[in-house]
């Protein structure tokens, strides 16, 4: 009866009885994760603090016609958006919440075992970055025109 058999059976018993440093990569640092987590956290604060009001006023009251007639007229809306506060608005209401969503979707896909995390990560953060550039690009284009 050998206490430590060399070849493990096909049983799903991952990571057990492994040498300390399998491929010399034990301490592979995740230098990107702090960035994603920072963006996720900042986006989470924006989602919680700014989005309820934005969705209520722009997504619900405006289309229902419950705002005063000229409250968000084209002139007013474009003057507000295409300005320095408009850049901040886009950052807080579009860009950061997008990275928050990307982070949760990436981990959510891992939770339900869909795809590979390496690919999901690139797709999610990549999409968030692209849409962020689009949002800021539109605002800057509006400021310049």
């Amino acid at each position: 009866m050998s206490k430590q058999a060399m070849n493990k059976p096909a049983m799903n018993k991952p990571a057990m009885n492994k040498p300390d440093n399998p491929q010399g990569t034990t301490h592979k640092q995740a230098f990107d994760e702090p960035l994603w987590w920072g963006l996720f956290s900042a986006g989470g604060v924006c989602f919680a603090v700014f989005l309820p009001a934005v969705i209520l006023f722009v997504g619900v009251l405006l289309p229902l016609g419950l705002l005063p007639a000229e409250a968000l007229s084209y002139q007013r809306a474009s003057a507000w958006l295409f300005s320095v506060p408009g850049v901040l608005f886009a950052g807080a209401v579009v860009c950061l919440p997008l990275f928050h969503a990307a982070h949760r979707l990436r981990h959510g896909l891992f939770d339900i075992r869909v795809g590979s995390d390496t690919v999901n990560k690139k797709v999610m953060y990549g999409a968030a970055a692209l849409l962020s550039v689009l949002a800021l690009g539109v605002v800057l284009a509006g400021m310049l025109s």
Partner: protein
């Protein structure tokens, strides 16, 4: 006999979170980003319409009023509030704040964050509540 050869191991299935309430609520919390993404995409379309001109903007406002879009954005509103409720209570646990050596009570930090939500809503009301 090898110690591990007789062991049994149940790997998690992808439906593990349906097993009980706590995990279902966790998944609802994670899923709040789905309606959020929908609203952000709508908003981005609104940005583009502003760039295109007044008619386009009017068209976008009409689009936002269509029943399905409105329903999804109402869902996004509910999701943002649920997210806020779950997110605010995590803050004091992730970053316990200390003032003069004393830890700030958790419920004070949570109340402070809700005050922020209210302040932003009031700011919007002040900006948009009158023409």
């Amino acid at each position: 006999m090898d110690k591990s050869s007789s062991q049994r191991f149940d790997p998690l299935t992808r439906t593990w979170w349906l097993k009980h309430r706590f995990f279902k609520l966790y998944m609802v919390r994670e899923a709040t980003v789905l309606p959020l993404v929908f609203f952000i995409l709508c908003l981005l379309a609104g940005f583009v319409s502003l760039l295109q001109g007044a008619d386009s903007w009017q068209g976008w406002v009409a689009f936002m009023g269509s029943p399905i879009v409105l329903a999804l954005n109402l869902l996004a509103l509910a999701a943002s509030l649920f997210h806020a409720a779950t997110f605010f209570v995590l803050f004091p646990r992730v970053m316990p704040l200390r003032i003069a050596g004393h830890r700030l009570p958790d419920n004070m930090i949570v109340a402070g964050q809700w005050a922020g939500v209210l302040a932003v809503a009031l700011l919007f009301f002040w900006l948009l509540g009158r023409a």
